[in-house]
């Protein structure tokens, strides 16, 4: 029986999701004395979240996480990143550039983080602060849709508890936001708009010695070139307290086109001497993880609000890939705080319904939107991403003239300067050229050979899945395959980070069925090993939802 609407619980504000975006929104709302309820589907905050992850505090941003949670760097992050390099790889030759200047541009600080630790730390603070307002944080509760009255959004509905009304709803529910989809603000159709990030957390008890750094120092290495079988993307290796975060972020369309296996691409990086030189022998992987990442250049919603609902962070596509630098958490924080501020202001003026518009205005005024959707990229894109143009540039780069040019640029120091230019990196087109061709040519032309012995022997996909923790909602799969034809959903067999062609233990499998004397290839789905990355929501024909609160995979590192 559905109770009458006037019996619904009511809070002044609801925040869905306790990642950095939700934590920032909740802090701002609570500090303004607004009764705020935070709902998180993970059994604990952070249990569902994955990032690389370098958390940035930008000089130019109106809010950074330490403005809202001053103790965070002391208590919940891993290490400050003090050195920053890019490794251009071609086969076994490597050319390193020091990118510390690019990294430090507009950066007040930047720390490596692990999400389980950081998000659960944040969640405790969020609960303390919101509880004082009469709200609080509840984990293990999944919001499954928007509550509407007369067509207007007035609250949320949940799997575990009755619907709740609120004057203001912040969807900080991350990539594949079911609320953004329900509101009709985002869809999950075009692989070109997303990246897939895949990552291993690796044991490294001797980080300081290996990288020759002190306990309050850290190193970030980025990798590009021909490491990934031509798939557009880049790798990273970041130092934590006693682990390394090693992973890669790929353009989803490129991953699908190449029918590449993400776990194998990750292995290619781990095993390459350019990376394995920093890994202890024997190789010990603590956790394997993956998640979709929106490409703000293409999907940052220009007007992420509707009625009482606002979208912040990944839910709104606010994830900036600034060339090799990935900035999602910091923008989620900024957006979350701006949303909280907007509602508090609107409420003071006695017009709470104007909060959404005010939030969007502040996104533009503060320069946040300009970073997420750089004008320069939009101007360059139509020319730079045309196939002919890419081909011409790539050929030229690979030709003797190109190689001569690369050498000349390097000799004058211009190449390094170009690499270090934030202005340039914001307008990098999404083509082979910057991701694969140029770094490869640089490494071939200018690189030094690295020793090719590797000690890294990554676990099989089966072992990786076996090491993960799941609480499976048996008999209630969260993804339904709508079209099992290979044309519609076959891409998921390789693109799903826990599936692989010829592997029977993954989510997506190829099957041959016999009917009427003929055979047919189809795709089948078993959601048991699913790590909820969101990829198949885009590349296969599915009815896609997250599992109920507390169910599904539980990351311990993130």
């Amino acid at each position: 029986m559905i109770p009458m609407s006037d019996q619904y619980e009511q809070y002044e504000a609801i925040v869905v999701g306790a990642g950095p975006g939700g934590a920032a929104a909740a802090a701002k709302l609570a500090d303004e004395g607004i009764e705020t309820l935070v709902l998180e589907r993970g059994v604990k905050a952070g249990a569902k979240n994955v990032s690389g992850g370098l958390l940035y505090a930008e000089d130019s941003a109106p809010y950074a996480i330490d403005n809202l949670y001053p103790q965070i760097r002391l208590e919940a992050t891993e290490r400050p990143i003090t050195e920053y390099y890019i490794q251009n790889v071609a086969g076994s030759t490597v050319k390193e550039y020091d990118l510390t200047r690019l990294h430090e541009h507009d950066t007040r600080w930047s720390d490596a983080v692990l999400r389980r630790k950081m998000d659960s730390w944040l969640a405790e603070r969020v609960h303390e602060r919101t509880r004082e307002t009469g709200g609080g944080l509840l984990s293990g509760i999944k919001v499954n849709g928007l509550l509407r009255e007369d067509g207007e959004i007035v609250g949320v509905t949940c799997d575990e508890i009755d619907p709740i009304r609120a004057e203001f709803i912040v969807a900080a529910d991350g990539v594949n936001s079911e609320l953004a989809r329900d509101a009709g603000l985002m869809n999950w159709e075009d692989p070109e708009q997303w990246f897939q990030g895949v990552k291993a957390t690796v044991e490294a008890p001797n980080v300081n010695d290996r990288f020759d750094i002190g306990p309050q120092e850290g190193v970030a290495h980025l990798f590009s070139g021909d490491l990934f079988d031509g798939v557009r993307g880049g790798g990273f290796c970041y130092t934590n307290v006693d682990t390394l975060s090693i992973g890669a972020v790929f353009h989803l369309d490129s991953l699908v086109e190449s029918a590449a296996e993400p776990h194998e691409l990750l292995n290619a990086l781990l095993e390459h001497p350019v990376c394995s030189q920093w890994i202890d022998d024997p190789y010990r992987e603590v956790e394997y993880a993956a998640k979709l990442v929106p490409d703000s250049k293409k999907v940052a919603h220009p007007d992420p609000q509707s009625d009482r609902l606002v979208l912040v962070g990944d839910a709104a596509g606010q994830m900036q890939a600034q060339g090799p630098i990935i900035k999602g958490m910091n923008h989620a924080v900024t957006a979350g705080a701006l949303a909280g501020e907007a509602f508090a202001g609107a409420k003071r003026r006695g017009e709470p319904e104007s909060a959404g518009e005010r939030y969007v205005e502040r996104l533009y005024e503060s320069g946040t939107m300009a970073k997420l959707r750089p004008k320069r990229y939009e101007r360059v894109r139509p020319i730079a991403e045309r196939e002919r143009a890419t081909e011409v540039v790539d050929r030229l780069l690979e030709s003797p003239i190109g190689r001569f040019g690369v050498r000349a640029l390097d000799a004058t120091g211009l190449l390094k300067r170009l690499y270090s230019s934030p202005f340039m990196s914001m307008s990098i087109p999404d083509t082979q050229t910057p991701y694969v061709t140029l770094p490869t040519v640089i490494a071939e032309t200018l690189g030094e050979p690295v020793s090719d012995d590797t000690t890294v022997d990554p676990p099989s996909l089966e072992q990786r899945i076996g090491e993960l923790t799941y609480d499976t909602d048996i008999g209630n799969p969260h993804i339904e395959l709508l079209d099992n034809s290979v044309e519609a959903s076959g891409a998921a067999v390789t693109a799903c980070p826990v599936s692989a062609s010829e592997f029977g233990g993954g989510c997506y499998r190829e099957e041959t069925i016999a009917s009427n004397g003929s055979t047919k290839d189809v795709v089948s789905l078993d959601t048991q090993p699913c790590i909820e990355c969101g990829t198949c929501a885009v590349v296969a024909d599915t009815a896609w939802e997250h599992p109920s609160g507390g169910r599904g995979v539980e990351f311990r590192q993130g």
């Binding site: 309820l37 709902l39 609080g136 509840l138 509760i141 508890i161 009755d162 709740i164």
Partner: protein, 283 residues
């Protein structure tokens, strides 16, 4: 709302904990005491009442002083406000009847609450009598085999979903005025449907973690003089039940003699009844 939950310590029957001697007798001394597993459901029912309607939950047990651990365990899971242990030599070796007399006296001393909760059956005695007998002694209505509960504070009534005859397939809903005694079934499920309830639960969890660590500060121990009980009516002397002998748990026979009987075969069934009649000591 004030609830009292009756709980009991039982030997830990879990694999690896329980210890039997050579003859198959339980070695009480070597087997740790834990809270009767069925009482967990009674505690959860009391907790739900507290979360929804506020008030106080007391947990009461009768047993040796070592039962403090059991009460601590109860405090952790139910976030109880105060604990009562009825304990002295005169109370030892009581059967369910004598236990019920002592418990009901303890409850009356504390003041009759709105609800008394008991678990269904204990893991050791398995008689399922203590709850009902205590309730009879208190002379308040009782609902048994309860799987779901709601209280109307203003009307002072309790409504319960219960299994008819303890049968899972048949469910009925009954009502009783407060105060009442609720015997909670192991099928009981707490039901928290609002964020407010979940937040209250979280608050309780936080405060109780600290409280359970120093549970003895919330523990009151009463002996028979505190309860003004005549030793002739309590403990072993007051127990009408006489246990003639306790059968050791038989070791499984190496080979069982089994005869298959088709229930449709009248003649074979007749023979079977004859054989059984001899065993039952009747006929």
């Amino acid at each position: 709302m004030h609830s009292i939950v009756l709980t009991k310590g039982v030997p830990d029957f879990r694999e690896g904990q329980v210890s039997f001697d050579e003859d198959g007798h339980l070695e009480r001394g070597k087997t740790p005491t834990v809270m009767n597993p069925n009482d967990e459901h009674a505690l959860q029912a009391a907790l739900q009442t507290k979360v929804r309607h506020g008030g106080r939950v007391s947990v009461m047990s009768m047993g040796p002083p070592g039962y403090g651990d059991v009460l601590q365990e109860a405090m952790e899971s139910v976030y109880a406000d105060d604990l009562y242990l009825l304990s002295d030599r005169e109370l030892a070796a009581a059967d369910t009847w004598a236990t019920a007399i002592a418990l009901s006296t303890g409850i009356e001393k504390l003041g009759l609450p709105d609800l008394v909760f008991a678990g269904f059956k204990t893991a050791d005695g398995e008689t399922g009598h203590t709850g009902p007998q205590t309730c009879w002694a208190l002379d308040i209505p009782m609902i048994t085999h309860v799987t779901g509960l709601s209280v109307d504070k203003d009307e002072r009534r309790v409504r319960a979903r219960r299994l008819v005859e303890g049968d899972v397939a048949e469910i009925e809903t009954v009502e009783a005025p407060l105060p009442a005694c609720i015997v909670v079934d192991s099928e009981f499920e707490s039901d928290y449907r609002t964020a407010g309830e979940h937040l209250a639960l979280k608050d309780l969890r936080e405060t109780t973690v600290e409280r359970a660590a120093e549970y003895d500060q919330h523990l009151t121990t009463w002996d028979h003089t505190d309860l003004n009980l005549d030793p002739d009516y309590i403990g072993l002397d007051g127990s009408p039940t006489i246990v003639s002998s306790v059968d050791p748990i038989p070791k499984p026979p190496a080979e069982r003699e089994a005869t298959m009987v088709d229930p449709g075969d009248a003649e074979a069934m007749g023979e079977l009844f004859d054989e059984m009649a001899a065993l039952s000591g009747g006929a």
